[in-house]
Point group: C2
Chain length 333, copies 2
Amino acid sequence: MNVASREIHLAARPVGEPAAEHFRLVTAEVPDLAEGQILVRNTWISVDPYMRGRMNDAPSYIPPFALDAPMEGSAYGEVVASRSGIAVGAHVVHFLGWREYAVVDAATATVVDPSQASPEHWLGALGTTGLTAYAALTEVAPVKEGDVVFISAAAGAVGSVAGQLARKLGAAKVIGSAGGPVKARKVVEDFGFDAAIDYREGDLPGRLAALAPDGIDVYVDHVGGDHLEAAIGALRHGGRIALVGAIAEYNTTEPVPGPGNLFRLVAREASVRGMLVSSYLPLFGEYVGKAAGWLADGSLRTEETVVDGLENAPEAFLGVLRGANTGKMLVRL
Amino acid sequence: MNVASREIHLAARPVGEPAAEHFRLVTAEVPDLAEGQILVRNTWISVDPYMRGRMNDAPSYIPPFALDAPMEGSAYGEVVASRSGIAVGAHVVHFLGWREYAVVDAATATVVDPSQASPEHWLGALGTTGLTAYAALTEVAPVKEGDVVFISAAAGAVGSVAGQLARKLGAAKVIGSAGGPVKARKVVEDFGFDAAIDYREGDLPGRLAALAPDGIDVYVDHVGGDHLEAAIGALRHGGRIALVGAIAEYNTTEPVPGPGNLFRLVAREASVRGMLVSSYLPLFGEYVGKAAGWLADGSLRTEETVVDGLENAPEAFLGVLRGANTGKMLVRL
């Protein structure tokens, strides 16, 4: 086909924190399409914390990235050639990101309507990012009318959506935590949380107790570590914790001690439950149906941190792991 | 009324492990009955691990024992005087144990049929002990057909019942852990588990993996600590853990580090949920209806460790905390 595509390969598996040397920019010729495939020119790609796990050669719920092959992840683009029912010119979301051109099995691509929402939204609040927040708060740790809800990484992609969904689901108070005063202010002013904790100021349990003197009912955990322990300490009877991720633990090389207060779950009859968004894909239609309207009427607000150029995708990804983003971190090609 | 009753008072609050000095044997005069009360001559009393928590002066789901007042707990006895609808001569289960005679509000006593089951069963497998096992395996961490189930403290009162109930609920394999070879053998030979681990031999994770090479679906935790961590490590996708207690942590004075592998709950989409039997009392009728039949036909086997004499109740209780019992620990007066 004589199309050259630049792509980011996994060059080496990191131990602990990843760095630039673990990635490699490669130019490759795009193979011909087989029957049932489409060629997509990616215009936006998503970089997400969970990808850190795929850099390890360890069995998990999703296979590791292969060495010396392109990384993968959600991407948005335009169909430029097709041997399938998807027409050239269509816009699609698919899972072969980290490259300029992708040969995609049409069955794994979703055609989206660019007039309904922007690429940023299709990859963010209307994508698995938003669905994660929705599933966490409706299925895994369901919010009930009047609940006090605590959300970590509240300025992040999932957290910023989760706080707003919690309110729509009936929460009486929504508290977020974020790193640094700028993000903490955004959490309240831009994403409509009732209060925010800048966890870098320390004493997370004390700050949480001050903001929720009668405790919390629901916690959405993205970070693990001290956040999880503080949330367990604040749980009310029947409290529910959704474990979505543990950014604080992704780069550790030693096991991190678990929360020392886990036994409190007994007296509080509380629960901690892990989730993978892949189990909630059947909710997508229901969720997008609601969220597209909320985005359109301005009652669901998002923010994106955009980095330009495929060559800067590794740095964007490393930034997500450090919390350099507000909202969804995206790379525009 | 001129009835003298010997009773065990809490003499001092222990820090760490309790000892004889924290209890006092007192002889007191029994007060007159008020309207709606019964006088019960206790013949059996129950000593249970959870009572350790009530010796602390700390807010919890159940008030602490008062200093210089009788301890409390489940008891079985005969009504010897009544100013209520309960007849003299009736047999009752109530919550004012640790004493020879108890003045009980009739509304808090349950009349039982001594021809249907023994006092040991009314305080054990047909009491909150059995209900704990039933609620754990039907409501908190429900057993499904074909599940692999792991139960700690499997020679204990709740654990020995739980293993047998798991099988009745459809488990394909039931594994127990117990301290020492004698108990481990009992777990298999007397209580019908498929396999038992003597955790004193070490390498609990390795032994569990050998017995359940494809992992476990359900775990009933009575001990916390290394057992909980080993169970989380062995969980299959969608696995469920019921937290019933944490004997290993009751006497600690420092926070115990939590399981270092809690984050695995995400990839396994697994859950950990605490429970208090008091929330499941509405299941009592359903459970006793089944369990009385199983006890009668011999398909549910129990064992009791019986200590004679109220004066030996503290030693019996200390024994439960050390694992000196097989099955339910009871004091016969």
